[in-house]
C-alpha cells in the first residue's frame, strides 16, 4: 500500500515545488506586463547590493574596503547611451573635413621642413 502511494506522494511534492516556483515568479511581477518587469528589475537593483553586504557580514567575511571593490551600480540607460553615441559620432563626422584639412596642412608643412 505504502509502496503504491510513494510515487504519487513524490509527484505531489514535485508538483507543489514547481507550482510554488511559478506562483512566486507571478507574484513578484516577473511574468506580467513590461512596466511590472521594469519595476521588478528596479526593486532587485535596490535590494541586491545591501543584501550581499549583509550576507558577507553575517558569514563573518570581514572584507577591508581596499580588497573588495564597491558593489557596482546598475544605473544603465540604453537610450541615453545610444543617444550619446549617436551625438558623438555625428559631432566627429561634422568636424572631420576641417580636421582633415588641418592635419593635411600640418603634414605638408612637416614634409616641407624635412625636405629643406
Amino acid at each position: 500500500m505504502a509502496v503504491r502511494l510513494l510515487p504519487a506522494v513524490k509527484f505531489l511534492i514535485k508538483g507543489g515545488l514547481a507550482g510554488a516556483a511559478v506562483y512566486v515568479a507571478y507574484d513578484q511581477g516577473l511574468l506580467g506586463s513590461g512596466t511590472e518587469g521594469a519595476e521588478a528589475l528596479r526593486k532587485a537593483q535596490e535590494t541586491l547590493p545591501p543584501a550581499i553586504q549583509q550576507w558577507t557580514n553575517y558569514l563573518g567575511w570581514e572584507v577591508r574596503a581596499a580588497q573588495l571593490p564597491s558593489t557596482p551600480k546598475f544605473d544603465f540607460s540604453l537610450s541615453t547611451s545610444w543617444n550619446k553615441g549617436v551625438h558623438t559620432v555625428m559631432s566627429a563626422l561634422s568636424v572631420a573635413p576641417t580636421r582633415a584639412c588641418e592635419y593635411t596642412v600640418e603634414g605638408w608643412k612637416y614634409v616641407k621642413d624635412l625636405v629643406k
Binding site: 514547481a18 506586463s33 528596479r42 540607460s77 537610450s79 541615453t80 545610444w82
Partner: protein
C-alpha cells in the same frame, strides 16, 4: 513631455523587461528541468525562449500603443 524622451523610456522599459523575463524563464526552466525532466537541457532553453517571446510581445504592445499612459493605481 518630448516624444523622443518617451521613446527612450519605452526602449529602457523594453530592455529591462527582456532581462527580467529571460531570467525568470531561465530560472523556471532550471526548476522544471531538475524536478520533472531529469536535468535535461531542453526545458531551460524552452523557458528562456518563452521568456524572450513574452518580452517581445510586451515590447510590441508598448510600441504599438502610443496613446496609452503608464500610471500607478493609488488605492
Amino acid at each position: 513631455m518630448a516624444s523622443e524622451g518617451d521613446l527612450g523610456r519605452k526602449w529602457d522599459r523594453c530592455v529591462a523587461d527582456s532581462a527580467v523575463k529571460l531570467g525568470a524563464g531561465f530560472g523556471l526552466g532550471i526548476v522544471f528541468s531538475v524536478i520533472f525532466f531529469k536535468r535535461k537541457t531542453w526545458p531551460i532553453a524552452f523557458g528562456s525562449g518563452m521568456g524572450l517571446g513574452m518580452a517581445y510581445s510586451n515590447c510590441q504592445h508598448d510600441f504599438q500603443s502610443p496613446y496609452l499612459l503608464h500610471g500607478k493605481f493609488v488605492k
